[in-house]
Symmetry: C2
Subunit: 219 residues, 2 copies
Amino acid sequence: MSLITIERKVLEKNDAVAAANRARLARHGLFAINLVSSPGAGKTTLLERTLERLRGRVRIGVVEGDVQTDLDARRVARYAVPVVQLVTNGACHLEAALVQQALDRLDLGALDLLVIENVGNLVCPAAYDLGEAMKVVLLSTAEGDDKPLKYPAMFRNASVLVVNKTDLVPYVHADLAAIRRNALSVNPDLQIFETSCETGDGLSSWCAWLEHRAVKAHA
Amino acid sequence: MSLITIERKVLEKNDAVAAANRARLARHGLFAINLVSSPGAGKTTLLERTLERLRGRVRIGVVEGDVQTDLDARRVARYAVPVVQLVTNGACHLEAALVQQALDRLDLGALDLLVIENVGNLVCPAAYDLGEAMKVVLLSTAEGDDKPLKYPAMFRNASVLVVNKTDLVPYVHADLAAIRRNALSVNPDLQIFETSCETGDGLSSWCAWLEHRAVKAHA
């Protein structure tokens, strides 16, 4: 049996579990996003700002994926939301079966929105469906304008791009128009938000969109 | 045959090719580093500044690894050094067999130092020996102080840590002492440099060390 056959079997098995996760989330009218990015693009901080702003408006559950440590789950738990930490122990991405275990530990009927924060990795998580409604890819302005071209699969498979750390633009000489242009050249259907968790710029648009989607899924 | 067996076989085969690469580099007295980091930590820019500073002093060859595009090789080629672009076509790391092909296309006898710039990924390249003398891991201050704890394998397998983008420290509230402490808690033997390719801070120490190692390997 060749390695390619094995890899295809792994992906097929993952897709089957992801489909079951998706059906389960749909039964609860639960909108789920799979938040992906390079390490340090600001996934957890964006999530913290989102939890602050949507408190009392949207009931949010969180699944934290990390290679090691529960640092992120501890950060998120301060916002008094249900959170499950998944530690991959070296693996470079979350898989649907791990997320299924996390779903077992959450009261899905008591939630409007599920945020799955993936391992920081702009390559491997692109290939793994977790059962989410959509992938949201975060890109920090400090990473360089060319990243959508160099890591196209993630931008192609995502529905939403959040360009984060816009406050750093003058210091890192980022070109927001070039980032948008490069991202749309890979995926013309990307919806794009621009945020700074430092200044708060753009967070209200992002949160309003997220609330709208959560309410719509629940209706 | 289980997936774990297959994975071990892949790694064993990779290690055998890596050993052959290492022996070949040693025959030419060629010091080779495997430059690894998250996407956008500044590997290519550090390499550009290094090429400028060591021009006429150290004969440098470059192997560029990318998931897609030859953008990096084109940047490096401006410095009139031999460069080979490896495109992994979706794979999340370089493997020794790909690097072997790159070595075939370089005049190894005419070089003192080989820089292999890996795919931007703080997880997967940790497991793949390419035949390098050492892994050099780059971490941008914008990525957050906790990254050595969250992605320990890469910091454990590297010999050198370059903390880059130190000019951003005040804007991203980075704590250089915390980064050093976290990195050394994972790997007490790490040699650490702090650089800014924007201001030039720290580049002379980094380049002096690199020149020293290249000369020593060649002697």
